[in-house]
């Protein structure tokens, strides 16, 4: 029994929950809808607990680093800000002025800063990747150049048709390829979902 529970238990639970939620999408039934929404809310509850465990894990990881005197500054910031934000959220609520202050004047500028660093990474990526070594890379470089020229004032200033070629490449071939990619990925995701529900895919269990 224990072997059955250990080996088959997770796949049975996943299959039952998955088919109920899937059934709710197609069948308009009060009982199915109630069970499905309850399962989804339980899933949200599990995720919330997982986030709590993640916070604790992060604080313990940083605290261990501090005790070993590794990356003192980074780990100190992790401990102080994670613990502080969690305590403020719990004791003063997430709508309190202090919590809003942290969100607006600490978190948002930090996210914006890390986002702005992307510009330099994109430039180095372009310099490293866009070297013409074959027909494929030639097509990529030419297309990239046309799109950039079409999206900057410089392009139409050099030659007026650049204003329409770049945008056409984005709304024409690019969208067509994206949709083909989307069809393949969507059907692949559907079949992967079926494999998981039928218990055929077991990689996520570590088997």
């Amino acid at each position: 029994m224990s072997t059955l529970v250990r080996e088959r238990g997770p796949t049975i639970v996943v299959a039952i929950c998955g088919f109920i939620v899937l059934l709710n999408y197609y069948v308009e039934n009060a009982a199915v809808s109630a069970v499905s929404s309850k399962l989804v809310s339980w899933g949200s509850l599990l995720m919330s607990f997982a986030i709590g465990i993640g916070c604790i894990s992060l604080i313990l990881y940083a605290a261990k680093g501090l005790l070993k005197r590794e990356d003192m500054l980074v780990n100190a910031i992790r401990v102080i800000f994670t613990t502080g934000t969690v305590l403020i959220g719990i004791t003063m609520s997430v709508t309190s002025p202090l919590y809003s202050f942290i969100s607006r004047y600490v978190l948002t500028p930090t996210l914006a800063t890390t986002g702005s660093l992307l510009l330099f990474f994109i430039v180095t990526a372009i310099l490293r990747t866009f070297k013409v070594k074959s027909i494929d890379t030639l097509i990529i470089v030419v297309t990239f150049s046309l799109v950039v020229l079409g999206n900057t004032p410089m392009g139409p200033a050099i030659w007026a048709p650049f204003n329409s070629i770049g945008p056409w490449l984005i709304i024409g071939p690019q969208v067509a390829v994206q949709r083909g990619f989307l069809i393949g990925a969507s059907i692949g995701a559907m079949v992967l979902g079926l494999r998981i529900l039928l218990g055929i895919e077991k990689g996520w269990l570590g088997e």
Binding site: L58, I183, G184, I200
Partner: protein, 253 residues
């Protein structure tokens, strides 16, 4: 009362076709997949780590609750494979995750993989850390790559724009990076990886690596379903060109 009839019909058709091919597989028929070059590079990457005595880093970016959860689950299958390769080569594997729930699941996957290889002592919970989500996760990855200089970096899942930073940080230390995503909007970032799994290659990776007849049968069924979808698409285009516009409303999934 049944709703979303067309979607239900397509789903039932998918289920029937998958069951037909599973029937073929149960009778002993073995389907073949084309070669996926990126997956062939996995042992080379781990071998590189073993030769250089450097750790290997495997990261999944994504959640289990979003619409791209399929990428996350497929990436966990790859994590199991990479862990077994690392166990065979005695390479230290660090597995930082973007989502705490995925991190908990990854701990289990990594431990089971080490156990199956007969090396449970190689498992260390500190090597499956959670360093925060989104930009915090990317920043922590860049810091780890710069400080510990892993021999190989694996980065899979649901990329967003900041995913460009990871391959760049990897190339600055002269290492190699293998990635993959099924997210359409950010699939262009894969061109800067050394090896990449595009779209359904990531989703089919589990079947490719295990060579399980049932999984291979579902991949073949997926191709048949794709041809049917393309046939419906072509027929719709022809009918629409002939003036039958109601077909679009009928096919609205």
């Amino acid at each position: 009362m049944i709703q979303n009839v067309v979607t239900l019909g397509f789903t039932l058709m998918t289920l029937i076709i998958v069951q037909i091919f599973l029937g073929y597989a149960s009778k002993g028929r073995l389907f073949e997949l084309r070669n996926i070059p990126a997956l062939e590079a996995f042992p080379e990457a781990i071998g590189r780590c073993a030769e250089m005595a450097k750790p290997c880093m495997f990261s999944i970016k994504g959640k289990l609750t979003s619409s791209d959860a399929s990428s996350t689950v497929a990436s966990l299958s790859l994590l199991s494979y990479v862990t077994s390769l690392c166990a065979k080569s005695d390479v230290k594997l660090v597995v930082p995750m973007d989502d705490p729930a995925t991190s908990l699941l990854a701990e289990d996957v990594v431990y089971n993989a080490y156990l199956l290889e007969g090396k449970p002592e190689m498992f260390d919970r500190a090597n499956v850390p959670y360093w925060g989500s989104s930009r915090a996760h990317d920043g922590a990855l860049i810091e780890f790559i710069g400080k510990h200089k892993p021999g190989a970096v694996f980065h899979f899942g649901q990329y967003s724009s900041e995913a460009i930073a990871i391959p760049e940080a990897t190339k600055r230390i002269g290492s190699i990076i293998i990635g993959g995503t099924a997210r359409v909007a950010h699939s262009y970032e894969l061109i800067i990886f050394d090896h990449a799994l595009w779209g359904e290659e990531l989703l089919a990776a589990g079947a490719y690596l295990t060579n399980d007849p049932q999984q291979l049968a579902t991949i073949t069924a997926e191709d048949v379903i794709k041809y049917i979808a393309l046939g419906i698409l072509g027929l719709s285009i022809v009918l629409y060109a002939l003036g039958v516009t109601d077909i679009l409303n009928w096919l609205k999934l």
